[in-house]
Symmetry: C2
């Protein structure tokens, strides 16, 4: 997905948000925004938003000298998500269709995104969606939720690459991985996290904290971008990417960077921002399970 | 009020919104955002946000060559507000305290702000607030609603200058002016609109369309800014401003540009953006009737 004009506005919003979270005073916040505005004209709008996002956060990090300002937030998110683990595990087990339940729960986890929401919104939204008895995916959204194709791709794939998104959220991914392994104990699952601190995206430490290391082989993609910039990824990641028969891609950032790739990718995400929603043609807030064959907009 | 970091983010949001309303295609929208980012470093952050706002909208106008892109929106707003005139007139007449009712209704009208909201939100919010039976100002907000001081200043003033804000909204201001004239038929009321097209701010044509010309002397301030930039205002406006014993200032833009002036100004507005709300120390959405003596933050 290319960078839309709405993304440019969002870069400034994100820079300010990250500056505040890094503890920057007002003068430093202004400096960050001014320096961002100076860099903007050099940026190619044909790139994907996470490419610029990476530069935006790097600028904030360089100026504030806080290398991982979201560390505390990530640890809190991990704890918050973990507090729901047992309840959700039971919910999946008692569901008439445990796999679809696990898929939906993993998408609910995609709300834990500090690039878009603040902490209170996240806790409230996740709880609200999980408390509901009815299915999270509404009937009118089913055109964006290609579960039959996902189920069939899952059956056939031997090697699965799972692209993680945010800290906390990965507890919800773990539940889906555990469900996949319960159904298909022989599948080989590799879970990829980001290669360096970027917003609240999960790193290896988070994968360890959330128990992903116990259910999948964990690797990093080698890059500190809020998505998957294939041209920069490590050889280890590229190999896993090329060998996978199924790629489960979580979140907007991975969608924005991989939506044009001709690979067996299923994108699991919530359309959180109006630009991504408009690009896909759905409402903001829609739960998405997309693959290339199910769509003509990727 | 000075320009906060949050205002810088908002300038980009406003530029994009205005570009879209002007019918700019995506390429032009990008050009506008890039040119804005190039101009930003030269801007003094000690200025008030409407000073920069004026340049932002001028940039959009220069590039799109649409001189008054909000014209249609303004006309719709006038009609929308007028459709409620009779109902609101009765509501004021039947209120136990018609003046306070008229003040509150005039602040409800401040929602009609296309710099902040979109059309659907405005219609919904205004109707919702007006449908309610209870008073619009909640008890906990009364520290920001200095009605006793306003009532007393109104009694004493001979010349009143009323600074209008947006098209449509001025129908609600007309109701307040009519109530003031019912109570005090001898007061001389001058109503000032903006000197040139800027967002959906009311111009002379709107004052005529909304019947302000029948209840007050209408002048322009001579400037196309979304606030009152005193140093640029016309001699006619400056005279009215200096001679007034009471200035009723509507909306955020007039607040942002006049909040440090030592004049008998009462600011009637809704705190619509988080930056203004934080500056004042209230919640977003609070109804405000502020004067200098009632506050130490102006």
């Amino acid at each position: 997905m290319r960078t839309y004009p709405g993304c440019i506005v969002c870069f400034f919003r994100q820079a300010l948000e990250a500056a505040k979270i890094s503890g920057a005073d007002e003068k430093t916040q202004n400096r960050i925004l001014i320096e961002l505005s100076q860099k903007l004209p050099d940026f190619s709008l044909n790139s994907s938003p996470p490419e610029m996002g990476r530069l935006v956060y790097r600028l904030v990090t360089d100026i504030t000298r806080r290398k991982d300002p979201y560390l505390e937030i990530k640890q809190k998110s991990n704890k918050f998500a973990f507090s729901m683990y047992n309840e959700l595990k039971k919910r999946i087990a008692s569901s008439p269709n445990p796999l679809i339940e696990a898929v939906e729960i993993s998408i609910v986890g995609n709300i834990i995104d500090y690039g878009i929401y603040n902490s209170n919104d996240i806790t409230e939204n996740v709880r609200e969606l999980l408390i509901k008895e009815e299915r999270a995916v509404k009937e009118e959204e089913e055109e964006f939720f290609n579960y039959p194709a996902f189920e069939s791709a899952l059956k056939q794939a031997e090697n699965i690459l799972y692209l993680g998104d945010n800290a906390g959220e990965i507890v919800f991914d773990r539940l889906l991985i555990e469900e996949i392994k319960r159904l298909y104990p022989d599948k080989k699952i590799t879970f990829a996290v980001k290669g360096g601190a970027i917003i609240n995206d999960a790193l290896v430490a988070d994968a360890e904290e959330c128990g992903i290391t116990g259910v999948a082989r964990v690797i990093t993609n080698g890059v500190d971008a809020p998505g998957t910039l294939l041209s920069l990824c490590s050889p280890e990641f590229s190999e896993a990417y090329n060998q996978a028969q199924l790629i489960i891609s979580k979140g907007q950032g991975n969608f924005e960077t991989l939506s044009s790739e001709e690979k067996p990718i299923f994108f699991l995400l919530m359309a959180k921002c109006p630009v991504v929603a408009a690009h896909i043609g759905c409402e903001t807030g829609t739960f998405l399970l997309l693959n290339i064959s199910s769509t003509d907009f990727l």
